[in-house]
């Protein structure tokens, strides 16, 4: 049984998450692992370890056009008859695979952490609730359509050696109607939440928009991005772009400092990637401490100014 993997890339270099998808494909399929590569810079796909053939789709224009990508995949599926088709559970991966599943009227299991073939499809483990819950499910259909949960699999080695075959997908009318028309860069300034090395977040316990000053002060001293919980966004104290969580931004800093955040599943889904977590909370029984490396028990309005002061002193001396 062969596998086909949609590889997302940056100018031809496969994304980490796509390498993770390749790694599942290699484990899942007993036959060849083939890849499909689409978009700007796809002409020279590089470092697709373990891939037999990389099929490079040639489309009019380089802009992301999810229906055209889906058409390309569907065409290859018809031609290669793989037993499994896998993409990364990224925004685009999930989007394109959903369209493939719709076109082929096949089931799709999104964000899998494990998958094995069965007689009539696949047995999968996938994440729910932003990773707070795991689901064992049976998928009935062929090929099995899967996406991989980020960081659930090791990355496939970036070895070379894949044969490259270019093809022009057969598009239906309208497959190019939906495409990216322009890209708007983020307004400059500040540290991007998603990429920040340190994030200091405030929760309901901060109390008001104005009271975030203590959070901002510490963030400023650490060169950190300011985050917040969903309760804060809903209260209108901070913009949604500051929200860390399942439906907000998922962060992966070296140090995450949640202050006055209890640790609801909605929030924890957004900060699982943090390498160290220093929680500040008045409630010693708060769930946040179960995920913390360091704990400060106390009212953030007392603790944060004291820490900021101590940092200033430490830097002066």
């Amino acid at each position: 049984m062969d596998a086909l993997v949609l590889v997302e890339h940056d100018g031809g270099a496969a994304d980490e998450v796509s390498l993770q998808a390749l790694s599942l494909a290699a484990a899942y399929a007993d036959g060849a692992v083939n890849a499909v590569v689409i978009g700007a810079g796809a002409d020279e796909p590089a470092g697709l370890g373990g891939v037999a053939t990389a099929f490079v789709a040639e489309l009019d224009g380089e802009a992301f056009a999810p229906d055209a990508w889906a058409a390309a995949l569907c065409g290859l599926i018809g031609r290669l008859a793989p037993g499994v088709v896998i993409a990364a559970g990224s925004d685009r991966g999930n989007d394109v695979m959903a369209r493939v599943a719709a076109r082929l009227d096949l089931p799709l299991a999104a964000n899998c952490t494990a998958a094995q073939p069965t007689g009539d499809g696949a047995s999968v483990t996938r994440v729910r609730w932003g990773g707070s819950l795991l689901e064992e499910a049976s998928l009935v259909g062929s090929p099995a359509l899967l996406t991989t949960a980020p960081h659930a699999f090791a990355e496939a080695p970036r070895g070379g050696g894949a044969a490259i075959e270019r093809f022009t997908p057969a598009l239906e009318d309208g497959d190019l109607l939906v495409s990216v028309r322009e890209h708007v860069d983020a307004g400059g300034g500040g540290v991007s939440l998603a990429d920040a090395a340190v994030v200091v977040s405030g929760g309901r316990g901060v109390g008001s928009a104005e009271a975030f000053a203590v959070v901002e002060e510490l963030a400023g001293l650490l060169g950190a991005a300011v985050g917040c919980s969903r309760a804060v966004t809903m209260a209108g104290w901070r913009p949604h772009s500051d929200q860390v969580g399942q439906t907000g931004t998922k962060i992966a800093p070296d140090l995450y400092i949640p202050c006055g955040i209890s640790g609801a599943t909605q929030h924890m889904a957004g900060c699982k990637g943090a390498k160290h977590l220093l929680a500040i909370n008045g409630d010693a029984a708060a769930p946040i401490f179960a995920s913390a490396d360091y704990a400060v028990i106390g009212d953030l309005h007392e603790v944060l100014p004291a820490i900021s002061e101590a940092i200033r002193k430490a830097r002066q001396s």
Partner: protein
């Protein structure tokens, strides 16, 4: 198990008192124990501080001081005083509005209660005046209001924090948050240690202040705290344009009494709460953990459908705010609070385990007062505020069952803002305790009222023909309110007793024997009167608090040298039993045997009682052969019967005690023997009210309680025994000093209201000068009606009240305020002199 991140951090190995629960009650208790000099206190809570997630954290925090219950009002007033001292009380005033004429009448009753308990100023504003106080209220939907300027809002979390910190500053208190109680060890009937997620703590005194979790914690020690968590729905709407610049609380709290709702402004929001929805009861074991809760364990998901009628009603009352499309529902919860079977808190040492105390089922408005009171009880065995109505020992086992708690809590929930008649009966879970006479009583059309689970005939429909017989001598009540839970048959039964004889079912008496070589010491120690009397004597005696006030009044018979039989009212029987049990010697030389369920009691009184009873027995019942205040076993028919010649109705007669299995036979013998003499069955309407009032007999819980002393009650007696007894020192002091007030009996001179209807007071009303000024004794206590009822033989309506010395003058002309009007009354007796048969010739005939 949620010791959380602090698990493993140790606690002190022992504590003087362990307080479980750091809500308003636990913090207050810690503070007051420290203030009273107690040290090595430990306060633990499973949750975080300052808000551990119990009911304090989501309470609406407002306080209306006026309640018809004097005890609850006293706790509330004391709490307000404490909140003020802590600087966390915002006096914003409050208005209770009426939409119906019935509610308008009820508001006049509240005004009377306010005067009785000394809460002033209060007023009954017109709709227009309410509109001036609360400009966003639509005055066209109300008929009027009751304004309490002293109502306010507190910061209960801050109050708790300040009190906790005060105790810590005093070096008296260790605080352990995030500490879960896993068990309470009991050794030899006494508390020994508390086992927690952070280690064991030895302690001989443990207080459970865990609100809705209290039953679960008590069960760990084998004790019961009979409450149920129940839902109170609350929503918060905002931002309200009118409140845009409001800081804190600026407008009066509104209680929309007829819809069981309240509305109050805080900051830019309006909070709307309801007690109108169906009772939603939870199980203490089913409350989610902190980790499982989306908000907190006691802020449960809002059930929208239950609140929808309330939205309509809030919209009617405050259309400007509630009807504003820009104002959103920002927060909505089903908040948990504690309900008990009778609506009163649960204070005091549990009857099951020595050293295990309860301070539960307490709301914000009485939290600090309850904390102070329980601290005083723990330290002094006595409290300034009498809380016998809240004594956790008050319940009979059949009242502590889950079914009873749930039934009564559910029934009581919607009475929260209800118009509750003082004699109103519970409808749920009835028919639990029946006397062996009940079959006969039902045949006679008895109308049963309940006390402590017992079904007691209040009057008998079979006596309706007496109404014709006594015709004009029986007062009819023209007003529906006073005719409710009452019947003229009661007065007719009374007259038949005075004329002929009546038999009264008294099986609800609590009866227990104190027996053993040490028995005399026990009864001598608790009773005011001399108990070292001859075998066969029956002694009526008060029991005193350490402060020389009333703990109980009851009868003790010396059945043998070492056997004393205590007979007391059913309502307070369980608490009285605990009081005796608490005074049993440690060496086991006296024991207490509860006979309540073994014996039934039939009273027979009236001028023909002797003739009737004598016809059933060969024993000598003549005055010489069976003098007053004697008790001995006689044979009635084939039954051995303990007969006691005493009376609470002021007529010749006996209380007859037989084993329950002989009850029906005894009833039949007496009824048959009495028939030719015109005996009638009489209910508790006679025994508990009309009979005793004519005789100026006092009743515990009405005239007698922990806030009035024996001298004030006119019950000191000439001689005082030499033996030591509880309250002796204080009592001696009271005998020396001029009493601040004296218990008097008054009669109403004119019953006719302005509308021409004759009205009859029911109790609790303020006694005023004819000019309408309240009477205040030198201890600051107001005069109010402790008991009210008919005196059919006198043809007068009788009131009892403590009056300051200068007013306690025979013939003194005073007034009683009732339903917003004043009625003239006159002091008819000062002290215990009976109005009817003042020489007690009948009893001693």
């Amino acid at each position: 198990m949620s010791a959380g991140v602090e698990r493993g951090r140790g606690l002190p190995a022992r504590a003087n008192v362990v307080i479980i629960g750091a809500g308003i009650v636990g913090n207050s208790l810690a503070h007051h124990l420290a203030r009273l000099g107690e040290r090595e206190l430990l306060l633990i809570d499973k949750g975080p501080l300052p808000n551990p997630g119990g009911s304090t954290g989501h309470a609406s925090n407002f306080i209306f001081p006026v309640d018809h219950s004097r005890e609850m009002t006293a706790l509330t007033l004391d709490s307000v005083r404490q909140y003020r001292e802590l600087g966390v009380f915002t006096e914003c005033g409050g208005v209770e509005v009426a939409r119906t004429p019935e509610r308008m009448q009820e508001l006049t009753r509240r005004l009377a209660s306010a005067k009785s308990w000394g809460i002033e100023p209060v007023a009954l504003p017109s709709p227009q005046e309410v509109g001036e106080l609360v400009p966003y209220l639509d005055t066209s939907v109300i008929l009027g209001g009751f304004h309490t300027p002293g109502a306010g809002v507190v910061d209960s979390l801050q109050a708790g924090t300040l009190m906790r910190e005060a105790a810590q500053t005093a070096g008296a208190l260790t605080v352990a948050a995030a500490t879960e109680v896993l068990g309470i060890d009991v050794e030899g009937g006494c508390v020994a240690r508390v086992r927690t997620s952070r280690g064991d703590v030895e302690a001989a005194r443990v207080v459970i202040c865990c609100g809705v979790w209290s039953p679960r914690i008590a069960r760990m020690a084998g004790a019961s705290i009979p409450l149920t968590p129940a839902v109170h729905q609350m929503i918060d709407i905002g931002p309200v344009p009118r409140f845009a610049s409001s800081v804190g609380v600026e407008f009066p709290i509104v209680r929309d009494m007829d819809t069981n709702m309240y509305e109050r402004q805080e900051g830019g929001s309006l909070e709307i709460g309801s007690y109108a929805h169906r009772p939603i009861l939870h199980e203490p074991d089913e409350i989610p953990s902190i980790e499982e809760s989306a908000l907190s364990p006691t802020e449960l998901p809002f059930t929208q459908a239950d609140f929808e009628p309330q939205l309509e009603q809030a919209l009617e009352l405050m259309p400007e705010i509630v009807g504003d499309e820009s104002v959103g529902v920002k927060y909505a919860i089903n908040g948990l609070l504690s309900l008990t079977p009778d609506g009163m808190p649960l204070l005091g040492e549990t009857p099951e385990v020595r050293g295990l105390w309860s301070a539960a089922a307490i709301w914000i408005k009485e939290g600090p007062g309850a904390g102070r009171t329980v601290a005083e009880l723990i330290v002094n065995g006595d409290s300034e505020i009498d809380v016998h109505g809240a004594d956790i020992a008050r319940f009979h086992p059949a009242q502590r069952t889950a079914a009873n708690i749930r039934a009564r809590a559910a029934e009581g929930f919607n009475k929260m803002y209800g118009i509750v008649h003082p004699a109103e009966q519970w409808e749920s879970n009835r028919g639990v305790r029946w006397s062996p006479f009940s079959e006969r009583e039902r045949e006679l059309g008895a109308v049963f009222y309940e006390v402590a689970g017992w079904e007691r005939p209040h009057y008998y429909r079979s006596n309706e023909p007496l109404l014709e017989e006594y015709a004009d001598a029986v007062t009819r009540r023209e007003s529906e309110w006073e005719a409710r839970w009452w019947s003229p048959i009661i007065n007719a039964e009374h007259l038949a007793l005075r004329d002929r004889a009546a038999m009264v079912d008294l099986s609800a008496f609590a009866i227990f024997d104190v027996a053993g070589p040490g028995a005399l010491d026990v009864v001598q120690r608790v009773a005011l009167r001399q108990m070292d009397v001859a075998v066969g004597r029956a002694v009526y005696t008060p029991l005193l608090t350490p402060g020389g006030c009333f703990r109980a009044d009851l009868t003790i018979m010396r059945l043998a040298e070492e056997v004393f039989r205590v007979v007391t009212g059913g309502a307070h029987g369980m608490a009285d039993r605990k009081w005796f049990a608490d005074h049993l010697p440690a060496d086991g030389s006296a024991q207490l045997h509860d006979q309540t369920s073994a014996l039934c009691t039939l009273g027979i009184w009236g001028p023909r009682a002797r003739t009737i009873l004598q016809s059933t027995t060969g024993d000598d019942l003549s005055h010489d052969g069976f003098p007053f205040a004697r008790a001995r076993t006689i044979e009635i028919g084939s039954l051995p019967v303990l007969a006691s010649r005493i009376s609470y109705v002021g007529d010749l007669g006996w209380e007859l005690y037989v084993p329950v299995e002989n009850g029906a036979a005894l009833w039949d013998i007496v009824a048959e023997a009495g028939a030719p003499h015109g005996i009638v069955p009489a209910g508790i309407g006679v025994y508990g009210t009309t009979g005793r009032l004519e005789k100026c007999y006092r009743a515990y819980g009405f005239e007698l309680d922990g806030e009035y002393n024996v001298v004030e009650a006119g019950m000191a007696g000439a001689k005082l025994k030499d033996e030591e007894f509880v309250g002796r020192e204080a009592h001696l002091r009271h005998r020396e000093e001029e009493p601040a007030a004296l218990l008097c009996t008054l009669t109403v001179d004119d019953h006719t209201s302005q509308s021409g209807v004759r009205r009859y007071m029911l109790g609790g009303e303020p006694i005023l000068t004819r000019g309408g000024e309240p009477l205040v004794d030198r201890r600051g206590r107001r005069s109010f009606v402790t008991s009210a009822g008919a005196g059919p033989s006198l043809g007068r309506h009788i009131l009892m009240s403590y009056l300051p010395g200068e007013y306690a003058v025979l013939g003194g002309e005073l007034a009683v305020e009732y339903m917003g009007e004043r009625y003239p009354c006159t002091v008819a007796a000062v002290g215990a002199t009976p109005l009817f048969d003042p020489d007690n010739a009948r009893i001693r005939s």
